[in-house]
């Protein structure tokens, strides 16, 4: 482990085949409906060769690159969480019997996944969800099973996105750990190879089926400069020092009203975020009413139902819902799980229909904490 080897472009095909031969469903980036998403792939031809993305607050578009890079883009609307923590899942089923009922566990036999092209920020997002789902007193057994079975092929970013701020969050762009294999794409006029770092025994075992050669010093330095290029091109910045305290001290900041005036409370930001973990549960009954299926689904703190208790929603005003989301992400999460809930992937900025930028909102509050505080007191 810790070993570096180099494979040619074809070696990637061999890797995909080896993973499939190992009984895994291989998931990787692919172009669909104008975006790079994560889906089942069988072949390197499924990868977004020669595509890149252009992202801005509220905008996303694909463009053709001048080269044939396979990983020459950043992150799209999908995150790996949809495979580890599906958007909808049956928890259990209850059947009425003669004088009682019986319950059966709903966990679908997990397909063993291999993820190809996991970015550093995404590895951190997975680590954060591990803390949420597995580290508490009541671990989520389904998540834990899927997670334990997942094989992770990470990829170092060779370029940064305009809405990315992983450097600020110390989550990238360089892949540091938490993978079985990691790739760095080495591409110029003369070559198209991948430097591979082996991160686990499972990774080493798979590499036995993939033609490779030892990495040269030139390979290593080419990989380093690719990552350095990404770090230098990072699009956004967030000052995290003192941010937690500033946010927790400012629930009555005027900025919440200002952002709420723009926010549509659509919840897009929570749906694309790789760390958001909130869910709701619903019952689905069959027509005869003898079987009830308990289904867990992704939920969003932007809905009114989310905080409903009889009589009304606790967070009725959009300002309260936006405040909950941002304060949870960047402040309360640290109290709850010992880490920020944001990895700086920029998805919420890109996919917000009105282009609300979490880095701008957080900075506005952190930089003028006292000045804009409303007087807040309970009068006589």
């Amino acid at each position: 482990m810790g070993t570096n080897v180099t494979i040619a472009r074809d070696g990637l095909q061999a890797l995909i085949e080896a993973l499939r031969a190992d009984g895994r469903e291989v998931i990787g980036p692919t172009v669909r409906e104008g975006a790079i998403i994560y889906d089942a792939i069988r072949d390197i031809a499924d990868l977004p060769a020669g595509w890149t993305d252009r992202q801005e607050a509220g905008r996303y578009g694909l463009e053709q690159r001048a080269d044939g890079a396979l990983f020459g883009y950043t992150v799209g609307p999908h995150a790996w969480k949809q495979f580890l923590f599906p958007a909808r899942e049956t928890l259990w089923t209850m059947r009425r019997t003669g004088d009682g009922a019986e319950v059966t566990d709903g966990a679908t036999p997990a397909s063993r996944h291999a993820f190809i092209g996991v970015r550093s920020c995404e590895l951190h997002a997975i680590a954060i969800q591990d803390k949420v789902f597995v580290s508490g007193p009541y671990p989520d057994t389904n998540y834990r099973a899927r997670r334990a079975d997942a094989f992770i092929v990470a990829v170092n970013c060779g370029q940064a996105g305009n809405t990315c701020f992983c450097v600020s969050m110390r989550t990238g762009p360089k892949v540091e750990g938490g993978f079985d294999l990691s790739l760095t794409e080495l591409l110029d006029d003369t070559r198209h190879d991948f430097l591979i770092a082996i991160g686990s025994e499972a990774g080493a075992a798979i590499m036995q089926h993939v033609p490779h050669r030892p990495a040269t010093a030139a390979d290593l330095s080419a990989a380093d400069s690719a990552v350095a290029r990404a770090a230098a091109g990072i699009g956004r910045h967030l000052q995290t020092e003192g941010l937690k305290q500033a946010l927790q001290a400012a629930p009555e900041h005027r900025r919440w009203d200002e952002v709420a005036a723009r926010c549509l409370t659509c919840g897009n930001c929570t749906m694309v975020c790789p760390t958001c973990f909130c869910t709701t549960v619903r019952d689905h009954t069959d027509l005869a009413g003898n079987t009830a299926r308990r289904v867990r689904e992704w939920d969003s703190c932007f809905t009114l139902d989310f905080s409903y208790i009889h009589g009304g929603s606790v967070r009725h005003a959009p300002r309260a819902r936006y405040r909950q989301w941002l304060t949870h992400k960047l402040a309360n999460w640290i109290d709850q799980f010992g880490t920020s809930g944001c990895v700086g992937c920029g998805r919420c900025i890109t996919w917000c229909p009105v282009g609300i930028d979490i880095t701008e909102e957080a900075a506005a509050i952190a930089n003028a904490p006292a000045a804009a505080r409303e007087a807040h007191h309970e009068g006589a």
Binding site: G100, T279, T280, F306, V314, A317, N332
Partner: protein, 282 residues
């Protein structure tokens, strides 16, 4: 909370099956259910904890345990019909089957309060989660200093556990204050809000511990009155309520600032959460 060994923990979403052994109508919209497990024995619980009760095909609701922790084989729950799930639970007849997960959450610090005066302040249905603590304290009466129970209801007809209150009132070792928000002139008891009883109660504010449960506004006013009486926020415990879907810290719904009511609560200390109580829509 008891640490569950992650390696052996069963799926925490799976309910155990229970049967309604007995029901008792408390008020027009409120019913007490005694639930026995179809298999095995009910787990132990601490006063103040809650279970997630599942009504077939309708859903789950967080319901506090209102029965004695040391007595009986059943889980006792007092449910007020306010909607779909609570309505289905409140309509259950003896023999009905339901799902149950729990017990969850923090309890009233009945052990830590030994040696101190205890002031219990309940509003409306808030008496239900306090009843296991009251029973415990009365069963171990000598371990505590003065015991004061203050209880507020909307009107005399909507007063929970009235007969049991009468029995408690017969005891000479508990000071009981009961009040209603309004009444017809035949009511001979107090009229006024429950925090107004605090001024007249006899306890040593520096030595006493307060357990408070009721609607959030009532708890806010009560905490203010207790603080005004000289009690420190670290001696005041409140039982909080938020939307709950999982009760195990995974669904995110019950967040209250940095806390999760389901696992850091529902019973929480005023000096820890007091600052959040006055933040609108937190």
């Amino acid at each position: 909370m008891a640490a569950t060994d992650p390696a052996v923990a069963a799926d925490p979403f799976l309910p155990a099956l229970y049967r309604v052994a007995r029901t008792r109508r408390e008020l027009a919209d409120t019913v007490t259910l005694e639930l026995l497990p179809l298999e095995g024995v009910r787990p132990d619980f601490a006063p103040g904890q809650f279970n997630m009760l599942y009504a077939f095909g309708v859903g789950e609701a967080a319901i506090s345990i209102s029965g004695d922790a040391a007595e009986g084989a059943a889980f006792v729950h007092t449910v007020r019909n306010v909607g779909a799930v609570s309505g289905a639970l409140a309509r259950m007849r003896p023999g009905a089957t339901l799902g149950l997960r729990g017990p969850f959450g923090t309890g009233w610090p009945v052990a830590a309060a030994e040696g101190a005066d205890v002031v219990i302040v309940a509003g409306g249905l808030g008496l239900a989660p306090l009843r296991p603590a009251i029973r415990h304290i009365l069963n171990h009466r000598r371990r505590y200093g003065r015991v004061v129970l203050l209880f507020g209801s909307r009107n005399p007809g909507e007063m929970l556990f009235r007969r049991e209150l009468e029995r408690w009132r017969q005891r000479l070792d508990v000071e009981i204050g009961v009040t209603v928000d309004h009444a017809d002139p035949s009511w001979r008891g107090n009229v006024g809000v429950v925090p107004s009883l605090i001024r007249h109660a006899s306890f040593d504010p520096h030595e006493a511990v307060a357990f408070v449960c009721g609607p959030e506004v009532m708890m806010r006013f009560t905490a203010t009155a207790l603080l005004a009486a000289g009690m420190g926020g670290e001696r005041i415990w409140l039982s909080m309520e938020r939307n709950m879907k999982c009760a195990i810290g995974l669904c995110g719904h019950c967040q209250f600032g940095p806390t999760f009511i389901c696992k850091d609560g529902p019973v929480m200390r005023h000096d820890v959460i007091g600052g959040l109580l006055s933040v609108r829509e937190i």
